[in-house]
């Protein structure tokens, strides 16, 4: 794998003035999707009532809705919609960053072991304690432990740091997957096991504002940090030698980016379990629109990711009376889309040696 030689030109091309109208439009699409999502669900409430409830927070108006309507919109739909957007945004930014710093379109948070580590931490937290803060704490801790292991392994030897890193990620993933299986084995089958299985499968069904308040700060801060280092990610995506030549401290920058990605991924895992494929697929979709310049790609991925996961979660919660597991839909859509994208973008955006 080598940096595409035309990348500098692309950066030049992408560095044109941002098209504010386009960005405004994209933000509007996300806002419209979110507003629409608040209006759909298994409990029938007319859009009029939904927006009445929302508006009543800004200006005092007469209530023409029931208490149940208000509870459903404010306590069930609002946190769930916000969490879906937040998770989609965060995972997409994380994925775009990883693909950039590793110059590899196959890399996502799941590949480098962070998801497995975080999932193990969360499962352990459910086994030993209860409550979202314990899950968040241990998910982040073991996400970081996983990435530390990967870092330690990938530095042992090898001339190809990217390959070593991906291989280390596979090893660490497998290790934590085994630990998760062990936890499931020892968990009380009447009480803890169903909780662990349900949480691992990935769902926004248990979203609350408390949960949102807990995981939003780390996701937002880490995403903003990545956005702030978007130019540096561009340079890293040129390849190590070029980046060093341009005066960037390659190792430090790369690991800082990975650290941010870990925090985002572990926070999402803590709130909603493993939501696969988003970080892998969404950056490709965004890249098709704005090209490989991370100054554009990172915010574009964020917007696309938010819409993507929001729409998928709408299907999961509304399509049938029973919840469709989120991970099933993301994988069913993600895998084929990714396969097609891989074939199409082969040789254009990315090249293999």
């Amino acid at each position: 794998m080598s940096a595409a030689t035309e990348t500098p030109d692309r950066i030049g091309a992408g560095a044109r003035l941002p098209r504010y109208a386009l960005w405004g439009g994209a933000v509007a699409v996300l806002a419209v999707c979110a507003a629409y999502s608040l209006g759909v669900g298994r409990y029938p409430i007319s859009f009029e009532r939904v927006y009445g409830i929302l508006v009543s927070h800004l200006v005092p108006i007469d209530t023409f809705w029931s208490v149940s309507d208000q509870r459903v919109v404010e306590l069930i739909r609002a946190p769930r919609v916000l969490l879906a957007v937040l998770a989609g945004t965060g995972l997409a930014v994380a994925g775009a960053t990883l693909q950039g710093v590793f110059r590899n379109p196959l890399v996502g948070p799941q590949i480098i072991g962070v998801s497995s580590g975080a999932a193990f931490g969360g499962a352990l937290a459910i086994l030993l304690f209860s409550g979202t803060s314990a899950i968040l704490g241990l998910a982040v801790a073991f996400g970081l432990a996983a990435i530390a292991l990967v870092y330690w392994m990938s530095r042992i030897a090898g001339r190809n740091p990217v390959l070593m890193l991906v291989l280390s990620g596979v090893v660490v993933s497998a290790f934590f997957a085994a630990l998760i299986a062990l936890i499931k084995y020892v968990a009380d089958p009447d009480d803890k096991l169903p909780a662990i299985v349900f949480w691992l499968m990935g769902s926004f069904a248990t979203a609350t504002f408390e949960k949102l308040a807990l995981v939003a700060p780390p996701i937002v801060v880490a995403s903003l940090l990545l956005f702030a280092m978007r130019f540096r990610i561009n340079v890293l995506s040129l390849g190590d030698e070029e980046a060093e030549g341009l005066g960037v401290r390659v190792e430090a920058s790369r690991w800082f980016a990975i650290l941010c990605v870990t925090v985002i991924t572990a926070s999402v895992v803590a709130a909603a379990g493993i939501v696969g494929w988003v970080g892998l697929v969404v950056p490709h979709l965004a890249r098709m629109v704005v090209g490989p310049d991370h100054r554009l790609l990172i915010p574009a991925s964020a917007l696309v990711g938010g819409v993507y996961l929001l729409v998928i979660d709408d299907v999961a919660r509304v399509a049938t009376a029973s919840e469709i597991p989120l991970g099933v839909i993301t994988a069913l859509i993600g895998a084929p889309v990714f396969a097609i994208l891989l074939r199409k973008t082969q040789g254009s955006g990315w090249k293999h040696d």
Partner: protein, 376 residues
């Protein structure tokens, strides 16, 4: 290694026993010239729930049960635990945690290492307890049966989930243990109670049937019992409407769906140890539900087996639920009936404290109409 060392002689011993038995049988037969009569004696014959013909020479003396509820059914039919020589670890915890552990304290010495965490048999451990018959699940495929039949064990399989299948368990256990009259009495009781309730509810108009929602999980996820479940069956029997009728089997739903169904009565399973009615009451999302406003969230009782799946005690569950769904409709005294039936099933005289703990009076005390179950 030690397992292998122990069980190989075990296997050999088993074969020897079988061989000796055969020789002995033949010798006796020859000696007494009753060969023809002996050949005509069919021994114990029955069909298991996969329709396979099973034959035992005589009623089983040593039985292993792998399906979790089967151990308590066994005890119900036999009225003692001597012939139960192995059971699932979770059968044992269920028994020791509940009333059966108090009635049959010797159950704690019955080996429970005969299956792993799932239902895959530990064939060597099973051989070591020399069972005449092993009960196993029918729906888990040949993988959990073949290793045992290959080792020369006799295996009968069970299915689960309906009243008919449950009566099949009782009937088969009665045959196997040589106590068909007890099995028949139990089944007659089930059918009689069912007929009474069906007749009573037949004329009930739809708007007089409260919407009942059964939660199998409420703490981690919201898993409900839909159409085609045993829970659906007894909700109907008790004169209720299953609020989750539009989903089939056991499904996870979101809170909004529960609000849309707006159940009048909510039931929490005893399987989820830690769930309490307060978990529903304290969830602000559910504050508007009819069941919450009227304090009609109940934890299902825990008797000789949990009352929510089918079992030998099911008619007591049906009556309890009818009294919960339609307070005042049945005049019978459930506590008196429990005493009577426990004497019949387990040969045990329930104390008032034991009845309180089976009916979970502590947990359910504050719920609407639950004082009807309090001691007089």
């Amino acid at each position: 290694m030690s397992m292998r060392k122990r069980s190989k002689p075990g296997l050999k011993r088993l074969r020897q026993t079988v061989a000796t038995a055969r020789i002995a049988a033949c010798a006796i037969v020859a000696a007494t010239s009753l060969c023809a009569a002996a050949m005509a004696d069919p021994g114990v014959q029955f069909k298991d729930q996969q329709g396979r013909d099973i034959t035992l020479k005589k009623p089983a003396e040593r039985v292993v049960t792998i399906p979790i509820p089967a151990a308590s059914t066994f005890i119900a039919i036999d009225g003692k635990t001597d012939r139960l020589v192995g059971m699932h670890e979770r059968s044992k915890t269920a028994i020791m945690d509940g009333i059966l552990g108090k009635i049959f304290p010797k159950a704690k010495d019955i080996p429970s290492d005969i299956v792993g965490k799932g239902f895959a048999p530990n064939v060597e451990a099973i051989l070591a307890v020399r069972p005449d018959l092993v009960f196993q699940w029918a729906n888990l495929g040949d993988e959990v049966v073949k290793p045992m039949t290959n080792a020369g064990l006799t295996v009968a399989t069970f299915n689960y989930g309906t009243e008919e299948l449950s009566q099949g368990w009782i009937s088969i256990m009665g045959t196997v243990l040589g106590r068909p009259e007890k099995a028949k009495a139990l089944i007659d009781w089930h059918n009689a109670e069912r007929a009474v309730l069906e007749k009573k509810m037949a004329g009930l108009p739809k708007n007089k049937k409260p919407r009942v929602l059964f939660f199998l999980r409420v703490l981690s996820e919201l898993r409900v019992a839909g159409d085609g479940t045993y829970n659906d069956f007894y909700i109907g029997l008790a004169g209720g409407r299953n609020a989750a009728k539009e989903v089939t089997k056991f499904k996870v739903v979101n809170a909004e769906q529960v609000v849309a169904w707006n159940p009048d009565v909510i039931l929490l399973t005893a399987h989820e140890h830690k769930s309490r009615p307060e978990d529903v009451y304290n969830n602000p999302v559910f504050a508007g539900l009819s069941a919450v406003k009227n304090k009609r969230v109940y934890k299902v009782p825990l008797g000789g087996y949990r009352w929510d799946p089918p079992s030998q005690e099911s008619p007591l569950m049906w009556k309890w639920l009818t009294k919960v769904v339609h307070p005042g409709m049945l005049k019978d005294d459930l506590r008196a009936e429990m005493v009577e039936k426990y004497r019949f099933i387990y040969g045990h005289d329930l104390t008032d404290d034991e009845i309180d703990s089976i009916l979970l009076l502590g947990i359910n005390k504050a719920q609407a109409n639950y004082s009807q179950f309090a001691r007089k």
